[in-house]
Amino acid sequence: MASTVPDTGLSLVTGTLRQTDYWWTVFKRTWKGGVINSFVSPLFYVVAMGVLLGGFIAGDPAKLEGATSYLAFIVPGLVATHAMTIAVGETTYPVMGAVKWHKTYYSMIATPLEPRHLVAAHMMFVLFRLATACGVFMLVLAPFGVFESWWGPFLAFGSQLLVGMAFAGLVYGYSTRIRSESAFGVLFRLGVLPLTLFSGAFFPISNLGPVLEWVARLTPLWHGVNLSRMFCLDTVDWPLAALNAVVLVAAVVVGWFWSVSGLEQRLAD
């Protein structure tokens, strides 16, 4: 079980740090592709949806959760959604590859490393990817006047990392439990796509009607989108922000144990 720590085992930090060289080479190998996915694609979204489509939408703060333009409304949600997409991308095929195709995880656990170390190092890499992608994205957007305070974007950035990590843990655990990559199709179509469209990134969830609005409020992505937006627009409702943060932190914690137990079971077969 995830909670058992053998007497002779490495600490979580030591075991994780021993994989630094590995992840550094992964980064050197993949960063060029990462640039396209992390910055270019979301920029297309901002231009197409925020600027061009947004040109047809009246910037009414009463209807846009306090945003004075559609661009300002959509940007915080887009970045939070983007964080989810990156996290899902990094914890689906790469995890299945290491378990099923290249079997590199099997060679890694033949050393003093344990599944929890592998999960932790992978999560650190996801966090690094999230930090660079969301950080640069937020910097690029700053000149567009979409942030209402100087400190809000920093907290929004933190909430984007949080929502990304929540999905990283949940999806990693899912990836360790499935046998075929076709299960990713289900995840993408029935999980990622509806979340992207209906968690309040593109329109206020009040437009969904009372029932679906509450369904949207139950999704982890909405908590991230809402938190990110409140901080960017300086419309923070602190009790709600605390609730959003607690939900996301809880998802991160659950995701961690779900991932570690999943990988332990899978690699012990």
Binding site: P6, R18, Y22, T25, H102, P112, E114
Partner: protein, 319 residues
């Protein structure tokens, strides 16, 4: 600096009693006793599905045991797994090399998992590349290597932590004869240097070449144990006569002819020939001719482990 240094103390490296492994209702290993001592080359022989790989994974301390007891290097894998694995080298049946990395990085990064300092890993990697004759390929991508090179790289990787105990699961399966001989030579050198080797194989010549002592596993149990010579003496005769007859119709002629020679010794009737186990092969041939039988091919040879294997595990093909 020598590639290897191992203490000369005689101690138990692997001690298993009544060891079991189950997967749901299926019992892969049904209670085996194994005792491997320092400096030995020990083999697990058996057909596919005999339980060799399951046993190896338990010894490698990555698969929990289902029953019995197991001690590796004097420690319990259930509680001391990481400490045990730090002193093991594992060469798995399937290559688990990182195809995206080059040859050198595969070794370097693996060494770092053991916590070996960077400078030290670098010098060990150079030594190991030399040892497995891959120095020239240091910068090559793994996917560009031949099967034999990949195996050698996997063996080099399993040595990066200078293990006390090296586990090799079917090390030469799928290799051409030249590559196998190169690998045997390298394993023999390690054995000479005092490394304890545990090998699974279904190649009898490999077991005879490399193993001081071995067990024959079949259906999750140990069918026999001893040195290759002991096993041959106990379970076979000094000589074996192989008789091959021409095929006249659809039926296997060897089945019919076997009835006429069954008093000459123990028989194994294979699809293409009859093996007669009798101490004197020339005598067998003379008697065969006396009975008016006319084989198209005869061969008298010494018994090998293959004969022991056929006797103990039967001739049924296991897929």
């Amino acid at each position: 600096m020598p590639l290897y240094r191992v203490g000369a103390v005689t101690e138990s490296m692997i001690l298993a009693r009544g060891l079991r492994k189950s997967f749901g209702d299926f019992e892969a290993v049904k209670g085996i006793d194994v005792d491997v001592r320092r400096g030995e080359a020990f083999g697990f022989l058996g057909p596919n599905g005999a339980g060799k790989s399951s046993t190896m994974r338990m010894i490698a301390s990555v698969s929990p045991i289902s029953g019995g007891s197991l001690q590796i290097l004097g420690m319990d894998p259930a509680t001391d797994g990481p400490a045990i694995r730090g002193r093991l080298g594992v060469c798995p049946q399937e290559d688990t090399l990182d195809n995206e990395l080059n040859v050198r990085d595969n070794l370097y990064i693996y060494g770092r998992y053991f916590g070996i300092p960077k400078g030290e890993v670098n010098s060990r990697v150079d030594e190991l590349l030399e040892f497995v004759s891959l120095t020239e390929k240091a910068k090559a991508k793994v996917e560009d290597l031949s099967g034999g090179m990949k195996r050698r790289l996997t063996i080099a990787r399993s040595l990066v932590n200078r293990p006390d105990l090296l586990l090799l699961d079917e090390p030469t399966t799928g290799l051409d004869p030249q590559a196998r001989h190169v690998l045997w030579d390298q394993l023999f050198r390690l054995k000479q240097a005092g490394v304890t080797l545990v090998i699974t194989t279904h190649y009898m010549d490999e077991a005879e070449q490399l193993c001081d002592r071995l067990v024959v596993m079949d259906k999750g149990l140990i069918a026999a144990e001893g040195s290759p010579r002991q096993l041959i003496e106990e379970h076979s005769t000094r000589e074996v006569t192989e008789l091959r007859f021409g095929i006249t119709d659809e039926t296997n002629p060897h089945e019919l002819i076997a009835e006429k020679v069954e008093d000459l010794g123990r028989l194994e009737v294979l699809p293409d020939r009859i093996l007669v186990y009798s101490p004197d092969g020339e005598e067998v041939i003379a008697k065969v001719h006396e009975r008016g039988l006319d084989p198209i091919g005869v061969l008298v040879r010494r018994s090998t482990l293959e004969d022991v294997f056929l006797k103990l595990t039967g001739r049924t093909l296991v897929d």
